[in-house]
Every structure is written in C-alpha cells, then in structure tokens.
Symmetry: D2
C-alpha cells in the first residue's frame, strides 16, 4: 500500500475518533461510513432496518438517551433521509461487493464508542494531534475507530483486487452492550457465508504481533432486576413496608453464592445497584444491573437460570415482586483452526509482522460470536483475529490510544487472508 | 399452719425434687401426685387421657425419648395400670373437690423438670441435704417441685376448710415446652371456671414478697424447619447439589431481619441448627429450631407468618424444600386486676409477707395463659401470682434452689385468696 | 383577636407558602421572617451565626445544593447584607422580647420546606387560591408555614400583652433533617429558659382539638456509609476486585438483624442505596443512607453502635474500607406534665377548642427535643403541643394543606399558656 | 501369575475387607499388613512412628474416637507390642526391599476405610460371599482393600524378580481425610526417590482399562471454624447475646460468594454445621466444617485466605470470636508424562488390558500429591495411575464393590512398569 493510502487511513481514523457515539446512537458515525462507502463504490449498501430486523436488536436505549445523539447528528449536518432511516436507534451499515462467482466472505467490525470522557492531557496523542473526542462525554477507547478504518481499507483493497466472489462488511453497532451482534447474525447478509473474519486491535498484543484466531470468549448475558415492594415510614410503621432493599441484598448475597460448575468457568456479577429514596422510608424500589458468563453457552444458561430463580425467591423472602429483564447476551464461539491457519500463514510471511500467534484465550466476551456461530452452524468457517497495537494504557481508559501503523497491518493481513481463501487455500 | 405441716411440705418437695422428669415424661411424678392426692382424698382424680384430649397436646417427644423414662418409672415401682394409663406420654393429673354450691375455682401448677444436670457442689443445698436429683441428667431447676407441693398444700387446706363450691387443681405437664397448657385449657375441667389462679415461685422476687398478678407474658411459638436439598460432591460436581446449608443460612439472615412492629415488642430467634454431614458434601439436610414472640398474640402471629414465608422463600433461593413445623405455642393473657386485688389484699395482711406488689411485667412466656385466656373468654377472672423465694442462682441453672419457707407462704396466700373469692370478696 | 388579625395571619402564611426552601437553604424565608419581626418590633433579632454556632449544625448540604437557593433569594431581592450573614447555609432567626422581670419563656417553631412538588390539581386549596409553591420542586407539606405564622402571631400578642419576663422565639431551620435543633439548643438564647413550648399543626388531629403535650418521640440518628473497594473486570479477573456491593449487601442483611432490645422499641432502616457503575465491573463504591431510632436515647445509642460495628465488619468481609458518617440526630424528650397541664387547662376553657387531650404518643422523631432536653436539664419545663387542623391528606404528600382557622387557635392557646405561666399558674 | 496367586490375592483382599477402619484407626489393618509383609520377607519394615513423624500427621481424631478401634484391635488379638507402637493413632507401615544398585522406586497405596455401613442386600457380592464388613459401621467402599492387596502383590513380585535397586511401598493411612499423605512425604523413606507410582482402582473406568497418569487433582484444604458468642434469653434480653448462629450464617452466605478466579477452577463448601442448644437461647456456639479447593495450590491458598478473612469478619459482625482450624490439606501434583508413558506402553502391550488411556482429569482431590510433589521437587518422576474395575455403584456408597480380576491387572501393570524404569526405559 502506498504511503498516501496510509495517510488517508489515518485521516479516516482521526475523523471517526472525533465523534464517538455510544451503542445504537452511532448516527453520525454511520453517516460517515456511508459517505466513505459511497466514495469507494459498493454493490449494495444497507443502513439500519435495511441491514437487519430492528426487533433482533438487544440493549436498546430509551428515547431520552437516543434523542440527544440524534439531535447532535442533525446539527452536524447528517442527511435528513439517512437520519430518518436510522430513527429509533437503527444504526450501522452493511456493504457488499459482488465480484462474480466465488466464495461468500464476510468481515465484521464494530463501530460504537464508550461513555468515557477522553483525556485532555498534553501527552495523550489524540489531544496533542487535535483529534480528541469532541463530544465531551464519549470516547473511542476500545479502538473501534481503528476497526472501522480497517473495514473500509479492506473493502477498498478487495474492490481493487481480482477477488472473485461476494464480500460483505458488517459495520456492527452496539458491540460494547452486546446489542448488535444478534441482528447482524440474523440478517439476510449472514446467509450462506463461507468464511467470516472478525478483528480486534490491541488486547495487550503489541504492534507487529498477530493472533490468528482467539478461543474461549465467555458466553455472556447482561440482565437487570427491579424489586418492587411497598414503602412505609421506617419509624412509625416499618411492618407496613415490603422492603425492596432487603430483597435486593438477599438476592445479591445469594447470586454470588451460585455453585461453581464442574464443566468449566462461570462468572457472575452485580455491578450496579440503585435503590430507595430516603433513610426514613422503607424502600419501595431497588434495581440491580448484573451479568453472568460461562465458558460455554450452556454454562451461561446455567448461571442465568440460577440468577433468575434467586431473584424471584429473594423477592418472595420480603414479599416483593421483581421485574427481571435480559438486556443482551452473546454465545461462545471459537475460531476454526483451519481458517486461523490461513491467517497465521499469511501473517507469518509478512514483513511488518514480527510475531505470529496461532491461538490465544480471550477471557472476556464479544458479540461477534453471534455471526461466528451462525456461519459455523451453516457449515462455514470463522476466525476472530487480533492485530496487535501498542496501546499506552488499557482498553476502556481515558488515555487509551492505538499505534496507527497497525491499521495497515490489519488491512494487509485481512486482505491477503481473504484472497487466500478465495484462492482455495484453506 | 403447724410446724409439722411445714415439715411434711418439705418432705413432699424433696421427694419430688429427687426424680425430675422432662415434658410429657412425668410418669413417676404423676404417680407420686396421685398417691398424695389419694391420701388427701379428692372427689375426682383424672390422669392423662381422662384429664384431657391427648390430641390437644403440643411438643410431644418421640417414642425413643419417652421410652427410657417410662422404663425408669416401671423400675421405680409405679403401678402398671397407672403406667398403662399414661402410655404415649399422657402424664399429668387433675384433682377436683366438690364442696357444695358456690363458685368454681381453679388452681394451675406445673410439674415438669429440665434437662439440666444438677450441681453436686457441697454448697448446693439439695446436695448437702441429700435430695439432689437422682436421674443424673434432669433437674427441678425452675421450682416446679415447689409448685406441686403448693398445689397439694392448697388442696389439703381447702379440703379441710369450709370452702363452698368446686375446687380444681391442674397439675399440668410440659410447661417448659409450652406443651401442656393447651390440653388443660381445652379439657372439660376448664369449663365454667369462675376464678383461676396460677402461681410461680421466685422469678427474682425474694422470700417474703408476693406479686398479686403478672402482666405482659409474651405470646410465643416454638417451631422447627428442615431444609431438604440434594447432596453432591463439593469438589467434583457442586452444581448437582441443592445446598440445604445455604438455604438455612439465607433463612437465618432474613428471619432476624423481620421488620419491627409499631404495635409492640416482638422477638425472634434461631437458637439451634444442625446441618449436613461432611465438609466435602453439599448438604442435603439442614434443620433449625426457632421461636417467635410478641407482646400480643396478633404480634406473635405476625412474626410467625413472616418466619414461615421467609423459610419457604429461602428454600426456594437454593431450590430446596422445607418441612416447617409448629412445635408449641402460647397466647398472651394478663391477670385480671379485680382478682389480683384480692390476692394483694390477702397477702398484704399476712405476717410472713413483708412486700406486696400489685403487678409486674413478666418478660418471658408461660403456657398458663391458655387456661387464663379460656377462663377470661368465658367471663371468669384469672390471675398469675408470684410467690417470692430467695434463689441462690437464676432459674434454669444447675445451682438453682428455693427457700422452702416460701412453700407455706404460697399455700397460705392462695388458700386465703380462694376463700376470699368464695366469700364474694372480689 | 379581631377578624383583621385573622386575615393578616392568612396573608403571612400564604406568602411563606409560596417559597418553601429546604433545610439550611431558608434564605428567602429567613428574610421574610426578619421583615415581619422588624415590623412587630423586637428587642433582639439574631440571624444565622448571631443566633447559634454554625459548627453545631448537622445535615448541612453541600455547596452545590446551597448555591441555587442562595441565588434565588438574591434574585427575589433579599437584602445583600442579610444574604451575606447567611452565607454557607446559616439560616434561621431568633427573636427576643425583653419585658421586665419575670420568667424566661421560649417558643420554638420550624421553618423549612420539603423536596416535594406541590399538587396543581384544581381541588388543591393553595392552587385554587393562587398561593401554590412557586419553586416547582419544594413544598410546605408539613405545615411549617403555619408554624412560622403562629410564631409571629404569638410574638405580636405577647408584645402587646402585659407579659412580664423574657420571651424568645426560635425560628429553627432544618427540622426535616434534624439539623437545626442542636445549634438552637446549644445557643446562648437557650440559657436559663424557665419554660419552653414547641408546637406542631395537625398530625392527624382535627381542627378544634389540642394535645397539651406529646410523649415518646423516638430518639433518632441519620447516617451514611460508603464502602470503598477495588474495581476489576467481572469477566476477566473478578478476584482482583474488592466488591463494595457485596460488602453493602452483607451490611444491609445484618443491620436489619440487630437484636431487639428488652428496654423498649428500636428501629433501623437502610432507605437508600447507590452503588457501582456497570454490570461488568466489580463495584468500587457503594453508598447507603440509613437511620436508627430508639424509644430512649440510650436505645438509639445501642442501635447506632451495632450499626457502626456491622458496617466495619461487613466491609472487612470483602476487604473493603468504609466511610461512616453521622448526618444528624435527635434525642428523646417528653413533655413535662406540669407544663402540659397548663396548656390543657387553657385550651379546655377556650370556645374554639372542642377536644382537649392531655397526652399523646408521637411515634416518629423531632429535633425540638434538643431544646426540650436542654431546658429540662437546667431545671426548666418543656412541652410539645399539637394544634389540630383538618388536613386533606397526610403530611409530606403533594396535596397536604392546613385549615387556616387553626392558626388563631394555635396563637391563642400558646399566648394564654405563656401568660398563665408568667402568672405563676404552673 | 499362576491361578493360585490370584486366589491368594482374593483371599487377602477379602480378609482386609472384613475389618475396614477409618483414618488413623487402622490398627488391625496395619497388623494384617505387617503379618503379610513378614511372610513375604522385606528388608525394612517401619510401623507408625518408625515410618514417619507423628507431628506431621493431619486430621487426627480425638482420643474418644481412637479408643474403641484400639480396643477392637486388641480384642481381635493384635500383638500388644505392635499395638503400643501405634498408640495415639500412629498407624500405617512402610516396607522396603533393598535389591542392590539401581534406582529408588516407590509405590504408594492407601489403607483406610469409610464410615459407611455396608449393604447387606443379597445381591451385594461381599454379602453373598460372606466377607461383608464385620464392624457394622465402616466399609471399604473406595477400594483401599484392593489397593493394599495390589501393594502386597507388587512387593512380592518385585521381591521375586531380578529388579535391581530399592523398592519402597508406602501403606498410607488416612487418605480419606487427607491426613496421611504429608507424614509419608516428609519421612526419610521419601528421600531420594527416583520414581513414584500411586494407584487407584475404578473411578468410573471399567475392568480392562488403564489410565497411565492422572492430571489436575484439585489442591484441597479441610477446615473448621467455631464461632463463640454470648448466650442470652431470646425472650427476656436478646440484646445481651452475641449471636454465634447469626455470625455463622453471615460467614456461610459470604464464603460461597468468594470471587471466582481467572487462573482456574476453585471450589468452596460448608458441608456441616452444628450450632446452639435450644430455640429460646441466643446461641453461644456455632461450628462449621468446610473445605476449599483449587485447580492449583496457589488457587487453594487464595480460597483459604478468603475463607479465613470471611470467618473473622463475619464473627466481628456479631461481636463473636472465632476459632479457626486447618484440619488437613493436600497440594496439586500432576503425573509426569515421561513416567506415564512407561505405564502406557506396558499396559498397552498387556493382554488383559483392552483400553489404555494416556491421561485423565481427576476432578477431586488426593493426598498422594504430597509424595508426588516431594519426588518431583527433588528431581524424580511420579505418576498416579488408574486401574479400571467394574464397580456396580459409585465409590463411597454402601453397595460399592470391585471386580477382583482387576487386582492382578494392577499388580502386573505396576510390576512391569517398575521393572521397565529399572531397566532405564524412561
């Protein structure tokens, strides 16, 4: 790739970095992608409800959370028709290149930012170079700006190559909330994919290192529970209350006590709680935000079942009701070794890659597994690769940044891997 | 009363003191009472099932707990017919004097001992005088030996007096377990009682003091709960278990958190727990022994309802079942001031009484309240009096003892009070 | 009192009703009181730090909570010097009439509003009559507007009377938070008071009824606890966290399990909790807002000690720290029967009073008890009376209102009682 | 091996099966082993304190638990000198063959029975054949009778072979309590072992199958905790108590909530609890029996540290003390693949073996790991093999039994493997 291409990639990445938008609010981001995709020229370009069934989405924010981002996008000059298309939080875009007979290959990248205020320290590169987040409250601190750039770069490269087949790029919203993986996997664009690639930058792997396929992402489920009791004056008549805070405390105590499982690792957490109103009132309401994970999807289901029973029974201990909701979830899916092997060989022969790893454990969760599982269920192959990048601090911190040189690495590894599989080298 | 009578009282008390028997196992004690009552001469003498309906009993021990005491009584030479009458733990006796037209007056005394090994220190009076408990495991450490003696003494005095009316003495078993109050209250002997007296020695009141009527015994309920789960190997497959110990711990934590009630004092306790088998096995069974109390009977019912719901829901938290049982209970009943006034005046004029108290709070619970409630419900009057006695240590301790001089005080106060009400002085 | 006076009272009350201000933010209210007091003419008028030592205050809000109310008061035209005097939330005023030799008599009324949005239903009298709260977020829904009016009315009446002695009216801020009672009680104005009256409208007593002295307000303590742990990724490394939510749940479970006390009623509540940030993060922080109460001040201390130990130990269970704070508290103090008797006799002989009650239990808590206790400790007498008023809904509800006719009743009962004690009729 | 040998093995096994003795009470068992070993003829035979330092033992039962088994052994005619040697529960024996220059090879077998009453159903083979346990309360339901038989058989075979080197058999007591592994590993007999074999029958592997080396036994720790509070009358003065049952419930609730660890599997259990005395008494004492396990020894240490802190802090929540004790523990140690390979090859070539497995996960815990760890720490190799045997029901059940044909399999595989390593085939 010529230097000028590298410069353009950096430009694209920095532009996207300036307006990070959280899950299902990627209105301006989607518009920027559409603009880039039109400039590249694709055969099909589906935005929001054209790309997926909105009912398949998970973790959809409320109207009051959507509205300000919709308004911001309008103020930033996003086309009204495009905005209307995305109304209600139907962001994201799928782009397809139809290049004759050949395999159907997919690439999935994620596009959402995080509710983290970006550092304005002078040593923070985006601040020094003038492309720090302009929203004041959100940040691309997980590298999704880079993922989108890679997605665009690979698309352009494949478009210009002699690739024969169909190539589809899924610019997926709401990865951070595990909200967008499911609708993408359920969409018609996922039908009949022979190969799927998903990619992530960094994850503690340095620039120059490539992991050909990750394993053991934990299956995951986010959930909420609101306990509904009866308020009463804590001094005058405590017995008239049904104490939602006691119900919640009982639930929390016991949720963490869910038996460990001999089939593999499980996780459980109640990460947030908000309950009651004042010290002298028996709490009428108490809400918790929790999650369960499992080394396998059945282990996650085990944890979910236990979590749910505990909630209902803990509510009953204090004569309360409980409103239980699944917010979002993702399955476990591992990289196929045959496809990872292609990536490994491609990366291993590349000058800018000085360390190639066949496989690594993921530790956390990822909703790319929806697409991977869909492809694998239909007989295709999938791999989730990591393109190393030096990052000064951890993902999800205000001073996270990527080494922009790794964008080209990502594009090259993916492009060559796609060409390889199209050539039947799998 | 002549000195020789005093001596006889002491003899009777010491004889009873030597073979204390626990609740519903007062075989030898009942036999001794029957012997004394026959010697006094009464018009009706009903033992066990003749005195009450055995189905009304509460806190009945199992056969294995009954058998050794039955056997001991047989070995001690208790008449076989009498033993057969008491089979299954139907102890206790009711004695009636029919002395012509006049009011129907009742007196209730309790007869059971405690599972406490009596002190053999030389300074302990029963040890020094040679009438320490001979069972090696039980003790009259709440003064019921004295209560029985008073009951016999009053009966003899009334028999010899010009009392006109019906006088019934209830020698009630199983007071310590709140097991015998209910059957006595439900029996035909409790029908139409105009006046009822109940009496207790000591309770931190010194010799020479008489409390004419106690107030606010707490309504009470003893209960047990056994959690039944599923055992599993804690190392190999903890998830296969349903953990009865976790269920029990959840129940205990929440039972103590039952809301305080604005209508008055409540109490709750889990005083004993026995669960599981080995450290490496998920516990299949866990049993707890608890109690609730209330300043009023409805407050006890409130606590009981909360206790029960908590048990079932806590079991459900860990997918266990629970077997909940009411062991025994007693209501609240207060002394009627009109009748207590009679006792007060009688006691106040008595030389051996140097302190007379109209009323005192009771603090704990007593199943004499069943009889009191029955009498009061039918329009009669009841009082529960305390005859002070110097006791070296607290009730229910191995070195408890009474001042035998207070036996006569009790007999005199009760006899004169009964004669007073028969004379219409209420 | 002439009709015109009644009209003026209503005017004053409605003016105060229009700008209710919460605890320690009664800037405009204090200014209105100062204006009225200057118009009446008093011998001493002490505002904020002149009335008490600001360090004696409790439950002081943060600067961000104070500022908007300070600004509102400035916008409403409150005098800058007076505003400066109250800076930092030093609201409230004490007014003194020096009328020669005679007893020193105090009257305490409270002045703060509540964070309740007032009803705008047409049937709600303040809405219909056009004096509904203008703040949009606060309301005099506990009758403190009426209490202030009574305080002014009594002051005017005493000023015009032949009362001989010293008469001090404490317009106390922050009653709802138990924040202002202590500084008033510790101030020089509370020195040497012979008699103290405190007054409340309503409390479920109808217009025309007067309760001469309340008993058994519960001693109370508000407190907060923030658990501080260590955050960690709940999926990747849960063991690296110190879970503040688990610590809080453990504390809550056990706080409610504090043993009931045989000396009398106790209360405990955790009425609010706010913890953690996201479902996939081990919570670093968890805060709870609680309270304890006791039938006596020692019982409250017992509950407070147990609460605090439970917090620290529960934090230790999960290796967290805890930041424990007493927000405010108030002791128990009962009305002196001798002084209540004066009120009773005065009220009993008054035409507009058709029901007089000697004594009633209070049930909840009140920080007037600080002043009562101070006076009683120094040998004076205190009573807390209730002037009944028909109120359509409960105190602390958006549709609460008072019967304005009861303002005169309150003024008359208090004025005549004060004159009576000055005449030695106690 | 000749048929007569097979018969003799069965005889030995059945004799040992008839008097199973629990941990550290294997008096008669040790005596039987000594008798057999003397008959075989060994170069050194060390019993009890001659075999190990008694202070290195763990999980030693109390005198009252030892005495009856000591007495039984005496009644069964065990030699008085031998009995004296074992006094205090110093059971077990180590036998050594010195056969010239060559490697030092060890074999460890365990010898204790379980507190399980053996089935007397006619279909239960030991019952049908007349060698059911004669103790009435204990049973060899984990196959240790077979392990001892194998140990004796291998010793005899090695003695008769041309093996050159030193061969030591550890007949280890108290495996079921993890009590005997440590003293054996710390003894002089474990010094300088080049190879160590440990063996177990069954574990769900059928007759004819051999597992060459097990992996991932969980590191384990058994522990007890006794909470010591203050008793009080639950009705009269609950606040005077320090409730040991509440402390225990708090500990249990939180112990199960110990965070899962990202380094691997952990386990925790409270399998038994015994607390308090009566429903109306605040419990003064509460004892729990627990265990923790970890996929690695550091993970077990993590769990142990968390368990201990939770205990102390939970005690503090209720102002109780706690008496915490480590009962016993065992580390994790894996089979060395090089040594397992030898076993694999030996077994694979054996006619009576129809299925050979290189490695299997163990799931539970085993204190043979002490010896394995010791050998590995000093540069030797160790493997823990499984000799499959059809067992009608699970280990640790009353109807467990082994297929006696597998005794010879075990002896042959071990003997040939030992000869192979002596021949340098590792």
């Amino acid at each position: 790739m010529a230097v000028s291409v590298a410069d353009r990639l950096v430009d694209v990445r920095r532009r996207l970095h300036r307006f990070p938008e959280p899950a299902w609010r990627e209105f301006r981001t989607t518009a920027a992608l559409v603009e880039e995709l039109r400039s590249i020229g694709v055969d099909e370009l589906a935005v929001g409800p054209d790309a997926y069934d909105p009912d398949d989405r998970m973790a959809i924010p409320g109207e009051s959370e959507l509205a300000p981002w919709y308004d911001r996008a309008r103020e930033a000059g996003v086309d009204e028709d495009l905005l209307a298309q995305m109304e209600g939080g139907n962001t994201g875009v799928v782009a397809v290149l139809e290049k004759g007979a050949g395999p159907s290959v997919g690439l999935r990248v994620d596009i959402d930012g995080l509710l983290i205020e970006e550092s304005d320290e002078s040593g923070h590169h985006p601040q020094a170079e003038g492309f720090r987040s302009e929203t004041g409250e959100t940040m691309h601190s997980c590298g999704h700006d880079g993922h989108m750039t890679i997605g665009l770069g690979v698309l352009e490269a494949i478009e210009e190559s002699d690739f024969a087949g169909t190539f589809t790029v899924f610019f997926q919203p709401a990865e951070e909330e595990s909200g967008g993986g499911n609708p993408m996997a359920e969409s018609r664009f996922a039908d009949g994919l022979d190969y799927l690639f998903a990619v992530h930058l960094g994850l503690d792997h340095p620039s120059g290192e490539v992991v050909a396929g990750i394993e053991k992402p934990l299956a995951m489920c986010h959930l909420t529970a609101e306990f509904i009791g009866t308020s009463a004056h804590a001094g005058k008549a405590p017995q008239q209350g049904d104490n939602a805070i006691q119900a919640m405390a009982t639930a929390i105590q016991n949720i963490y006590g869910t038996p460990r499982h001999s089939d593999g690792m499980t996780r459980v957490n109640v990460g947030r709680a908000d309950a009651g109103s004042a010290s002298n009132v028996i709490a009428e309401r108490a809400k918790l935000w929790g999650e369960v994970r499992g080394e396998t999807t059945p282990l996650r289901e085990y944890m979910k079942t236990e979590f749910e029973r505990t909630l209902y029974a803990a509510a009953e201990v204090h004569d309360c009701d409980v409103d239980f909701k699944i917010v979002s979830e993702s399955p476990r899916a591992d990289s196929d070794p045959e496809l990872a092997e292609v990536v490994y060989e491609v990366a291993d022969g590349m000058e800018r890659v000085d360390s190639t790893v066949k496989s690594a454990e993921f530790g956390a969760s990822e909703d790319a597994t929806f697409l991977m599982e869909r492809v694998q269920d239909e007989g295709g192959l999938a791999t989730y690769l990591i393109v190393g990048t030096d990052h000064p601090t951890s993902h999800h911190t205000p001073t996270f940044d990527i080494d922009e040189a790794s964008l080209e690495t990502g594009i090259d590894v993916l492009t060559d891997s796609i060409l390889a599989v199209a050539d039947g080298r799998v």
